[in-house]
């Protein structure tokens, strides 16, 4: 197997982008990544795209062909593959690209993630999200995606491993960083009172515990590590990209306050990278609901069970805290969550941190960065580790 | 062959509204109206309840009390109601599936205003008595409709009871049943209309009172009894006033009708009314007790039953399902706004 490098990244603004279509967003992110990698575009020999549900959001199936066509890949008949894994669609697409290059079957691969959500009404968008859980035995029974996370939070509070304030502080941390990210949907810090007082969505979680509905796209270009220097001096090594599965329905797990798939994927990733959780300087975690951030910090091994919330509340997850910095992009909560784009956007943020190009949210001297991307309620999880060169 | 009740089960939704709360919205002295009708409160179905779910819960309570009865031995299920959720597509098949009586059986829905439940009992008696089926199930259940602001809104409620009719291990023997039937248009609802209409005071003397007293007198003459021979009596109860008055006209005492009269506390459950009243009587009855029952359905007809509780009542596992006293305990009271939401009276977006 060959080692793999990221030689270019590209990302659009995230948010309610009323005047931009799915095609326009995909092209923008892809073109930026190709330009960043100093490529013409014709070098690319494979495309992977993460996308949750263009079929329902914009009534367009066959997104792989659309992307190949509108990024100019169809002219050269370059293969394009669309990947769907719920909220982990982007993370799994990235891993597919890494595997394609590592195996030697492809040399220069473009990985994209894109979602255009706001062309659909809110109620229908929520029903698409609900269907990333078990549609027949959770959603049909009245459980919304938010309520499944709320039941995790309720259980955490009951078991005494996190307080309501600690859970809310995940959103505060994401908003704190979002203020520094020009591409973020919400560039505004919020006090914890704002989160605690926000209108209820599914108790105990409120509006500010919830990632927004967003449009956006992100892209990275991969090549064999040994060839990276040919294109750029500022590349990043892919130290590991692991993936794990769990039951589709949350209720079929022995423990709902931890995602077994995060634990399994992170253990595989640390082993492949030859490091431990203590070596990670910066991480992007899947805070689709605030409570997801608490679980991630514990399941990834950054904190023991019951301690992640305290660290978050005390501001120990800030980019300048000297500890592992969490969601310096603003996370799903403040950067935005165009679902298929999220996993790739996390990789973009980590790559920028390791290259030292994260501007005024730069984690000083970051050597190892990690991205955790979750599908459903932990049914699919990718954990990728990047290393600065 | 003796034919009678092998088991029974009752269900009433947990929500209630009081007449004064309804009157508050329409500028009516609701409390006074409730007093006149003898209705203190009425049951309200939750938005996720309908005749299917009410009939099912009643039937499940009925089956829970006879664990030795194999539901596959049920040969017929009839659900009587005037608020079946489908105009075409039986309630009874859903109930049959929910108590696992399918598929070697027959099922049908019945409608005869407020007496469709007792009509089902008569049909089951025929099927059991003729040997066509081992057990028949008859259910009377309704989520009755009363137009907003109409007098019916103060009484129309929801509930139901289920009866397992058979010839073995009967807890109550049905000695005789008969009916009195005419064409009397006192109350009706046309196809596709959300609310029923009624003939006002015409629903009284020529309708309710004529049919009940005729059937009741026929019955007592046929079996040679007098009112004082009965321990309990149950009459159809669109409100508390009518059954109290008809009982007095026939010579029954307030004590005899006390347990069979639930309308003051739950409202008019239409097809569920007499079945529920009888269920409450059976909750209290002991071997040897004799029960007089007369239902009434607009349009119009009355079914009368002469019933004797048997020794088998001692072995009956009544506690395997909640008795009505327990079903009715701890209600949740609604304001009119929530009531309107629950009953789907608020126009929602498509």
């Amino acid at each position: 197997m060959r080692e793999v490098a990221i030689i270019g990244v590209g990302i659009t603004k995230f948010g309610e982008l009323w005047n931009k279509s799915f095609r326009a967003l995909g092209i923008e992110a892809g073109a930026k990544a190709i330009e960043d990698a100093n490529l013409s575009g014709s070098e690319i020999d494979g495309v992977f795209i993460g996308n949750l549900s263009a079929g329902r959001f914009i009534n367009q199936q066959h997104i792989d062909a659309l992307v190949a066509d509108y990024t100019g890949m169809a002219t050269n008949h370059i293969p394009a593959t669309r990947v769907e894994a719920g909220g982990a669609s982007g993370g799994v697409a990235f891993r597919q690209g890494v595997m394609a290059v590592a195996s030697g079957m492809h040399d220069i691969v473009m990985v994209g993630g894109a979602e255009k959500m706001t062309d659909l009404d809110d109620a229908s968008i929520n029903s698409v999200m609900d269907a990333t859980a078990d549609s027949e035995w959770e959603a049909e029974m009245g459980a919304t995606f938010a309520s499944l996370h709320a039941m995790i939070a309720q259980r955490m509070i009951h078991e005494g491993t996190a307080t309501r304030e600690e859970i809310a502080s995940v959103a505060v941390n994401s908003h704190f960083h979002g203020a520094f990210n020009p591409n973020a949907q919400f560039k505004k810090a919020v006090p914890i009172e704002t989160v605690l007082r926000s209108g209820p969505v599914a108790t105990p979680l409120g509006m500010f515990d919830t990632a927004p509905i967003s449009d956006g796209a992100a892209s990275v270009v991969l090549c064999p590590l040994e060839d990276a220097k040919k294109y750029t001096d500022n590349y990043v090594k892919v130290a590991a990209s692991a993936q794990a599965s769990d039951t589709l329905a949350l209720f079929q797990r022995p423990d709902i306050t931890s995602y077994g798939a995060t634990v399994a994927a992170s253990q595989k990733a640390y082993q492949a990278a030859g490091i431990t959780a203590a070596d990670i300087n910066v991480a992007e975690v899947h805070d689709v609901y605030s409570v997801g951030g608490i679980m991630a910090l514990q399941d990834l091994g950054f904190y023991k069970k019951g301690e992640a919330g305290k660290a978050m509340l005390e501001g120990q997850c800030h980019y300048d805290s000297g500890k592992v910095a969490i969601n310096t992009s603003g996370g799903l909560k403040a950067r935005g969550h165009p679902i298929g784009a999220t996993g790739v956007a996390q990789i973009v943020e980590i790559a920028q941190q390791l290259r030292g190009t994260a501007d005024n949210r730069q984690v000083k001297g970051a050597k190892y960065g990690l991205a955790q991307n979750v599908g459903g309620t932990g049914s699919a999880v990718t954990v990728s580790i990047l290393e600065a060169i | 062959m003796d034919v009678g009740i092998v088991s029974y089960g009752a269900y009433v939704p947990r929500y209630r509204i009081k007449p004064e709360e309804i009157g508050r919205i329409w500028g009516v002295d609701g409390k006074g109206m409730g007093k006149g009708l003898m209705i203190n409160q009425k049951s309200v179905p939750s938005p996720d309840e309908d005749v299917v779910t009410i009939a099912t819960e009643a039937a499940r309570n009925m089956m829970a009390r006879v664990p030795e009865v194999d539901p596959r031995d049920i040969g017929a299920i009839y659900v009587g109601s005037e608020s079946h959720p489908y105009a075409v597509k039986p309630t009874s098949t859903i109930v049959a599936e929910a108590i696992e009586a399918t598929p070697n059986m027959t099922a049908a829905d019945m409608e005869f205003a407020c007496k469709a439940g007792t009509a089902g009992i008569q049909v089951c008696m025929g099927l059991v008595g003729s040997g066509m089926v081992k057990y028949g199930v008859a259910i009377g259940a309704d989520t009755s409709q009363g137009a907003p602001g109409d007098a019916l809104e103060y009484s129309a409620s929801a509930g139901g009871a289920a009866y397992l009719i058979g010839s073995e291990k009967i807890i109550a023997k049905i000695n005789k049943t008969l009916s009195f039937t005419t064409d009397t248009p006192d109350f009706w609802r046309r196809e596709g209309q959300p609310y029923p209409k009624h003939g006002g005071r015409f629903t009284g003397e020529p309708a309710y009172f004529r049919h009940i007293t005729s059937a009741a007198k026929m019955m007592m003459e046929a079996v040679g009894t007098k009112p004082e021979d009965y321990d309990y009596a149950v009459f159809h109860q669109p409100n508390g006033k009518f059954p109290t008055r008809v009982a007095a006209q026939l010579g029954f005492t307030p004590e005899q009708i006390q347990y069979g009269l639930l309308t003051p506390e739950i409202g008019n459950t239409y097809s569920g009314a007499v079945p529920l009243g009888l269920a409450n009587v059976l909750d209290h009855a002991k071997p040897g007790d004799r029960i007089f029952v007369t239902s009434y359905g607009s349009g119009a007809g009355s079914d009368a039953f002469d019933i004797t509780v048997t020794d088998e009542m001692k072995n009956y596992k009544r506690d395997k399902a909640p008795v009505l006293e327990k079903v009715l305990a701890d209600p949740i009271y609604l304001d009119y706004g929530t009531y309107a939401k629950f009953k789907g009276k608020i126009v929602m977006p498509e």
Partner: protein, 134 residues
């Protein structure tokens, strides 16, 4: 409007909590599975029908304020994970309950209720929900 067969074929689970039990290790599954994910091949052909217990306790819950359109008339409503007395976990609505009285550990029992309807003219779907019990 969704087709009717998708829900129709799930009636045993929806109405009567029909699950399966592994004839090899005894583990119970709801919804039912055609083989045991623990025993795998050893469970093939040994899965038995199993009636999940209809009573249990609330394991966790949430009051849903932002509801799907099909539940608009009911919102806010409670959704819960219930652990049945035979140890099976089930996600369902908890109804006929005052929100301030819901708590983890409270005893509940399964009832049949309307789950959703396809508008005014479409099919009505029925299935299990839970209500408080003693």
């Amino acid at each position: 409007m969704a087709g009717v067969a998708r829900e129709w074929r799930e009636i045993p689970g929806r109405y009567n909590l029909k699950g399966t039990k592994c004839g090899n290790c005894g583990k119970i599954f709801f919804p039912g599975r055609s083989f045991c994910p623990v025993c795998r091949r050893a469970s093939m052909g040994k899965m038995e029908d199993y009636d999940v217990c209809r009573t249990g306790k609330v394991f966790t819950f949430s009051v849903v304020h932002e509801a799907p359109e099909s539940n608009n008339l009911q919102k806010p409503y409670v959704v819960a994970m219930v652990q049945t007395d035979d140890g099976v976990m089930i996600t369902a609505q908890l109804v006929d309950v005052e929100f301030d009285k819901v708590q983890i550990g409270m005893p509940v029992k399964a009832v049949l209720r309307k789950l959703s309807t396809d508008g005014e003219s479409g099919i009505i779907r029925y299935g299990y929900k839970f209500v408080p019990c003693e």
